[in-house]
């Protein structure tokens, strides 16, 4: 009974009461208060339909995607302490991460987490489709979700270059050369040959979309820096905003879908 006594004492202190303004969530009033009064928990509604909490119905894939996104943010920030995005250092920094840094699995968690996130996003979309959850009133949120799916793939793709090994550089070479073939906007795409006045080529390898992506004509050091910024700052910011919209709309559109 001593443990109970200590727990009761801690709950009675001024410090505890200043942090948790309600009693333990053992009765209806406090269960409402804990969800409504906590900045993180209030993503949830206070009550929801029973079908919406069943794992067999939701598979929890959306929630896991968000969790993995947070885990990737944390591990990513930790990795940034040891990584320099230059052709000279990048590869050696990755080796150092494995060999000279305690908890040498940080990069593994980040990499496998990225792959896992792609899988959970796909399965989330699969579930949402199968339960018809894109139907009115949730059409807009489905669109936001599709864009988030693309951004997830782009995040993973930009991160793929950062180890600066053979796997990275050639995967990005193949991928970015598809941008070269964009109609009218890439110099190797249909329409580019038509945009030519005499000897003056309007769409060349120095001003097309691939050049913008790589800051060069091939995957080199400027591309590494550009992908690093896209991976660590640019795309995560957009994703964060869209996740906020996505969650907000789930609540506003009536929570997890259920039969009308």
């Amino acid at each position: 009974m001593a443990g109970k006594g200590i727990a009761d004492y801690v709950r009675g202190t001024q410090v505890w009461k200043s942090i948790f303004r309600h009693g333990p969530p053992e009765n209806a009033r406090n269960r409402a208060a804990v969800v409504a009064g906590n900045v993180f928990l209030h993503l949830h509604p206070i009550k929801l339909k029973k079908s919406g909490v069943q794992l067999g119905y939701t598979w929890c894939m959306g929630g896991l995607t968000f969790f993995i996104f947070l885990a990737l943010t944390v591990t990513g920030v930790l990795l940034m302490f040891y990584y320099r995005p230059t052709a000279e250092y990048a590869y050696n920094d990755i080796i150092a991460l494995k060999e000279h840094v305690p908890l040498g699995i940080m990069r593994e968690i980040h990499r496998w987490g990225a792959h896992a996130m792609v899988i959970t996003v796909w399965l989330h979309m699969f579930r949402v489709f199968m339960t018809g959850s894109y139907k009115p009133p949730r059409e807009f949120n489905w669109g936001v979700g599709v864009i988030l799916l693309v951004l997830t793939l782009l995040l993973s793709f930009t991160g793929y270059l950062l180890p600066w090994d053979q796997l990275a550089i050639w995967a990005i070479t193949v991928g970015s050369n598809m941008a070269k073939a964009t109609p009218f906007m890439g110099h190797g795409g249909p329409g580019a040959a038509l945009a030519q006045i005499g000897d003056f080529v309007m769409v060349s390898d120095k001003n097309d979309v691939r050049f913008q992506l790589l800051a060069g004509r091939f995957v080199g050091e400027p591309a590494l820096l550009r992908f690093y910024i896209l991976h660590c700052v640019f795309i995560p910011c957009i994703v964060a905003v869209l996740i906020a919209i996505h969650f907000w709309r789930i609540r506003k559109d009536g929570g997890i879908s259920a039969p009308l």
Binding site: W170, T173, V174, N177, M178, K180, N207, F211, Q212, A215, G216, R217, F218, G220, P222
Partner: protein, 167 residues
């Protein structure tokens, strides 16, 4: 009556100021966006030399020569009385094909495009032959390869006098 008209005009005036305001705002946003877009295209970048001297014509034997492949991305090919500088960038997706001397062909590891020694594609997904670079002889008798000028077979440019050196 006149008072009502006054009110009406005021409201109309108000809306026209508002629309001028919105147009200015949109224009400013568009201007900022295009500046940011232009910002992503640097004026100078530090990529390898586009021109190099590739020795004398007598240095090359019949067939494919790989000595400039790693430094400059060029195969020197001497075949059918012509010496030309063949680009080593696959026309499919920009991988680097390998020269397979046993099979007398270039084979791209990414998607399996194959090219004859002349650079003409014959298998796999490559849409067109490899490109050739401008090649000339300097006054000192050395070969100069200029990678800024490209000659493409399907445009009929391989007959251009500066796309090869007769040997």
């Amino acid at each position: 009556m006149s008072e009502e008209l006054q009110l009406h005009l005021n409201r109309r005036e108000f809306f026209s100021y508002l629309s001028v305001g919105w147009i200015t705002f949109t224009a400013a946003c568009a201007g900022m966006a295009s500046l940011a877009f232009r910002f992503s295209y640097p004026n100078v970048n530090f990529e390898p030399e586009m021109e190099f001297l590739a020795g004398k014509t007598s240095d090359y034997e019949e067939g494919v020569d790989e000595r400039w492949k790693n430094g400059f991305g060029v195969w020197m090919v001497k075949v059918e009385g012509k010496l030309f500088a063949l680009s080593n960038i696959c026309t499919h997706l920009g991988c680097i094909p390998n020269w397979l001397p046993a099979e007398l062909k270039f084979k791209c590891p990414c998607h399996g495009s194959g090219y004859y020694m002349t650079g003409v594609n014959f298998e796999g997904p490559a849409p067109r032959p490899l490109e050739r670079y401008a090649i000339s002889i300097t006054t000192e008798g050395l070969i100069k390869v200029d990678k800024t000028k490209i000659y493409r077979s399907e445009k009929g440019q391989w007959d251009h006098p500066s796309s090869f050196i007769p040997v």
